[in-house]
Structure formats: structure tokens, C-alpha cells
């Protein structure tokens, strides 16, 4: 397989501005993941000490949907983001080879995944930087403000919870149905409040945030980004995924989420501060923002059942986290 990838890179040598005789070496990188995710490689040229390109191949060649959307999303954001610093932090797409041997080649990036060093002592400063990046991105890509009570926005939220309920197992269905009914009554209490809508990264988690010398340098993995959604979901994704990805890793995701997101005083304070900073800056009512957290869980769970992923196990993980959240936190947040 690697010979074909080499051949493809050399065929595109003009576009990539490399010599046709360049010596190419690869290092496979990435997480242990399920079938649908792509496999990534760092591409080293000649005797270079750092990689020149980043190449991604779908683990299953017929699953090109996510790879195609990654390429389209990167191209879209490179074209539309005006802030040069922000644009630099988004990987530059170089080419997408097509369906026979689907590969995306991007400019290689500097930095280390934030997830590798996610320990309590570093988290406050890492979060501040990551959230600063998020706020600039959301400000730049904000398309409109939705109003609570506005039919189309409420319909959007209900479509997320409705889909989640339709996929839920029959044992949990009564609990979640009642919970969401109560939640929407609470949300209705904020009638007239404004909330920004716009682009989201879609998977803004510590694995996809690259840092160099303590600064956020690049944000990778844009395959799940959406042009029009609820930007708050990116913030929630950072908080929730950090809670179960933080070192040390042990037990299941649900256990780590429960211990940290719901029980750890340190993490609760960090989450509270992050949500407050973000909401102040983006002019969002913080109590309203907190009510949207359960909808984020439903949004994430639904995504696991999309075509080509169809991962019921991860759907159940998100549903279990929502249940834990609902039991322990919602009574406080939802009053």
C-alpha cells in the first residue's frame, strides 16, 4: 500500500513542489479507532528532520465520505476565513486523489496533540488558549443569532433530541423522554434570548488541538465540521472529551467522565470558568448555555449512528454519559 502512496505523491510532485527523485518515508500516526476512521501518515522527504506532508487514507476504501468532506471543509475555510492567524491554524489541503485510491494530502503541521499532556497542572492554561482560538473562530464564522422561542431554532433542537429518542433502547426511553420534556420547558423560560449560530469544527477535542511551546498552533481533523450549527457544541466537546481523555486513563469513558466532569471539584471549576468566559465573550446567557449541554450529548450520540459509522457501542456510551449528567447535574442546572 505504501508503494502506491509513494507513487501518488511523486505523481503530484509539481503541485507539492518536491523533486521527482525525492526519497519518501512514512510514519503511521493516529489513535486506535474503529473501522470508519481514516489512517494517517506523516510524510518525510529525503533526510528532513520534520515531516513535510500529512496524508490520510480511509481504513476502508469505500468509506470515502468523511475524507471527501474533510477536503471540502478545509478548502471552504481556507477560502472564507479572513483572519490570517486563524487561517494559518487550519491545515492547508493540497490534493484529494479520488475514489480508486482515496488519499488526502495536507501540509504537515507543527506541534503536539494537547491530549498527550492533559494533566491537571497544565489544563487551565491549555484551556484558556484553546477557548481563545474557539472564540475567534466562532466570531469570524458567525452567521446569525437564533432566538429562543423562534420556531425554526426550536425545531432544530427538537430534531436532535427526537432523533436521539428514536434510536434509544426501550428501557431508557421513558427516562429520556421525560428528561427532554422538562428540559424544553426550562429552555422555553429563556424566550427571546439570543444565541449565535455559525460554523463548528465538530470534533474540537484535545486530540485535535496541536500545541507548540504551550500555544495552540493548529486545529486538525475537520471532517465533522458544519457550516451552520450551534457553536456552543464545540466548547462542550472540549470539556467533555477532556474529562475522559485526561491522564491517567483508567476504566471506561463513562467512569472517567463521571469521576471528573461530574465529581472532581477541579474539573467542575475549570468547566464553569470555561463556560463563563466563553459565554461572556460571545454574549450568551450562561444558564441557557448549560441547558444546551444535554442536547450536545444527544447530538454526539446521533452522530455515532450516521451511515458508515454505525457504532451502537459509542451511541450507548454517549447515552450513558447523558444519563449520568441528567441524574447528577440537571437537577441543579435545570433548577
Amino acid at each position: 500500500m505504501i508503494e502506491k502512496l509513494k507513487e501518488l505523491i511523486l505523481q503530484n510532485s509539481e503541485l507539492l513542489r518536491i523533486e521527482k527523485t525525492a526519497k519518501i518515508s512514512f510514519m503511521k500516526v493516529g489513535e486506535r479507532t474503529s473501522t470508519y476512521a481514516s489512517v494517517s501518515f506523516l510524510v518525510f522527504l529525503n533526510d528532513d528532520t520534520s515531516p513535510s506532508f500529512f496524508a490520510r487514507i480511509p481504513r476502508v476504501f469505500s468509506y470515502t465520505e468523511k475524507l471527501t468532506s474533510e477536503f471540502e471543509n478545509l478548502t471552504y475555510f481556507h477560502k472564507n476565513i479572513k483572519n490570517p492567524v486563524l487561517r494559518r491554524s487550519i491545515p492547508t489541503p493540497l490534493f484529494f486523489s479520488g475514489k480508486d485510491f482515496p488519499v488526502i494530502v495536507e501540509q504537515a503541521l507543527a506541534g503536539t496533540s494537547m491530549a498527550l499532556e492533559l494533566q491537571e497542572k497544565k489544563m487551565t492554561s491549555y484551556f484558556r488558549r484553546a477557548i481563545n482560538w474557539l472564540m475567534s473562530f466562532h466570531k469570524e464564522t458567525e452567521s446569525q443569532k437564533a432566538t429562543i422561542g423562534d420556531a425554526s431554532f426550536m425545531k432544530y433542537l427538537e430534531s436532535i433530541t427526537g432523533l436521539f429518542l428514536s434510536k434509544c433502547d426501550s428501557k431508557s426511553l421513558p427516562f429520556f423522554t421525560n428528561f427532554f420534556r422538562g428540559l424544553f420547558i426550562e429552555i422555553d423560560g429563556f424566550k427571546g434570548e439570543k444565541i449565535p449560530l455559525g460554523s463548528i469544527h465538530g470534533d474540537f477535542n484535545p486530540f485535535n488541538i496541536l500545541m507548540l511551546d504551550g500555544n495552540t498552533t493548529n486545529i486538525i481533523d475537520w471532517e465533522d465540521s458544519l457550516e451552520e450549527s450551534l457553536p456552543l457544541f464545540d466548547l462542550f466537546q472540549l470539556l467533555v472529551v477532556s474529562s475522559f481523555s485526561m491522564l491517567p486513563e483508567y476504566g471506561s469513558k463513562e467512569e472517567r467522565f463521571n469521576d471528573r466532569f461530574l465529581k472532581s471539584v477541579f474539573f467542575k471549576n475549570l468547566a464553569y470558568k470555561s463556560i463563563t468566559d466563553y459565554c461572556d465573550n460571545m454574549k450568551i446567557n450562561i444558564d441557557l448555555a448549560r441547558l444546551l449541554i444535554p442536547i450536545y450529548f444527544a447530538f454526539m450520540a446521533n452522530r455515532e449512528l450516521e451511515q458508515q459509522r454505525n457504532n451502537r457501542e459509542l451511541f450507548r456510551t454517549w447515552a450513558a454519559m447523558l444519563k449520568l449528567y441528567a441524574w447528577q447535574e440537571a437537577s441543579r442546572f435545570c433548577k
Binding site: 500500500m1 518515508s25 510514519m27 503511521k28 493516529g30 486506535r32 518525510f44 499532556e117
Partner: protein, 347 residues
Amino acid sequence: MTSNLHFCCPKCKTPLLEEENCFKCRVCQVEWSIDSDIPSFITNEFYWNQISKENMNRLLQIARDEGWRVALEKILLPLTNRYTFNYAVNESRADWHFMLPAKTDAEILDLGCGWGPVTIPLARHYRTVVGADTTAETLKFLQIRAKQEKIENIKLAHVDPLDYGNLPFSDSQFDLVVMNGMLEWIGAARLDMPPQACQQLALTEIRRILKPNGIIYIGIENRFSLDNFLGSGSHSKVPFADILPRPLANLWCKMVGKKDGYRTYIYSSFEYKKLLFQCGYNDFSLFLPIPSYRDPCLIIPTDNEKIIKYYVEHSINSIPKKQLGRFVPLSVKLFATDYSITASAAK
């Protein structure tokens, strides 16, 4: 079974004749049965699995009725742990194949295919994959899994442990033979020969069935890994047994209650190269699978020191970059936990 896979008698290597529901050796006059499309070449019943035979049969029933993944969630997960569940499910376990020079028309043999997390992803990319295992139940599971995943290019074979070097495949058939977590166990099932001799027998037998310049892939532990120096004792579960000279390791294992002594031989990178060379292989390549060959996140080629250096710089931030001389990349290579190895069959 389609015609491009040719079986031979595991004992005399004469091509087998396919008859109704069996394969027959005209020289030995032995018949090998075919049960639900899986030919069986075993001489002794053998069962190795993470769960008991009774639970495995329950799992197979659920796999047939409700799907293979549900069966693993309902039986394997509660009886074992999440690691074992992921071990059975994660197709990323075969990501090393992207680093190999194999072409899409390759014929592949996956020895010790187990639950199929390596066989299935290989079948998604290459022409034919033969999954061989000593346990009939896991082969049946893999058959169900492949069918439900709509994968039609997997063939299965029930074989004896490789310790006897009796593979039922005709000469020069495969472009790639996979031994992922396999080589170290060869020698454990046969006590009348030293483990290394059993391993040599198996590697030589594999060379026979590889096409000229066909590739063997081995995923295995490093004898001199840092973990072993710290007393982890990989497969023997006896601390320091792997790093001791073999006779001492044998004595040490017997002293701590292992009646068969030390039999799960693993080697250093130099020793693997030597072992493969002795068995007729060349073009030895070594990769570092991190954190483990069982489910690698990173796969680092060792022929480019700068890539190892890059990995060290980016994974261990506390090391000052300017102080990374030659010593660190070399140590990473020598004391790595596991290796992914490829070599070509010299013919």
C-alpha cells in the same frame, strides 16, 4: 472453496483431492473433513480462547441471531474486559499492512486469525485472505462476521498448532503470511523439541508456502524491552525470564512452579534477524509499533533515524531537543516494547 487455494497433505505434502465434504490424500489415504465450508486438518482437538467453550457456543448462537458485534457485547465484554473486547473488534489492529509493499492482488494467509480483527481489514484491501486457526469455534465466528460484513474473499482452514510445522497449503501460494502475536507461542504446545527448533520448523514451513519474494509479517515482543528489564515477564508471566540466558530462564521458570519450564521464546532485533536468515529469509525490515503490535497507534520505520528522533521529540516533551544525539534513537529501537517485522522469502 474457490479453486485458487490449493491444499496439500499436512504430512506428505501431496496435493489433496477434493471430494464431497472432504479432502483426501491419495498417498496417506487420510481424509480431512469439511465442516460448514471450513476444511479441518487437525490431528488433535484443540481449544484456545479467552472464554470457555460453552460460552463461546452461546456467543456463536447470538452472533447468528443478532449479529457478531452484539454477541461480543453480550458475552465477551462481560466475561472479560474492554481491552479484550477491543482486541476482538478493532480493525485498526491491522494498520501495519498499510506500511507493507503488498499489492491489492495479494493472496494472504493470516495464521492464528482468532476473532478476525486482522483478517477482516486485510480482506477489505487484498484479493484473498485465508484465516487459519487451531480453534474451530473462532473460525466459525469469523465466518459469521465476514458474512455479516458482506466480505466474500475470506477462506478458512482449521489447522494444528504450528509447532509441528505441518501446514496444509501447497508450495508458493501466498504473497504475505501474517504471524501477529503468534511466533512466541510456537514451542509451547510441543515439549519434545526446544522452542527455538519448533519456531525454526514453523518459519521454514511458512517459507515453503510463500511465493518467491513473498513477505512474512511478524508482530511480536522485544526480548530486551525496558518492561522486561523492569520485571514484567511477558508471556511466561515469570519476571526476568525473557532476558535471562535460555537455560537459566528454563530453570528459573521451573523453580517458580512452571512445570514445562520457559517455552515462549522472544528475541532481540538482532536475534530475530538471525532467526529469519537461518530459515531462508532476507530483506529484513523492522518497525516500532507503539504502544504495542497488538493495536498500534504509531508505526515507526527504524531505517530512518530522523523519524525516530522526531517521534521522541514529539512524544516526550521533557527531553531537551538539542541533547538528542544518536543514543536516544538507538535506545528507542533496542529497548522498544514490541516489534513489527517483515522479511522476504529467499528462493
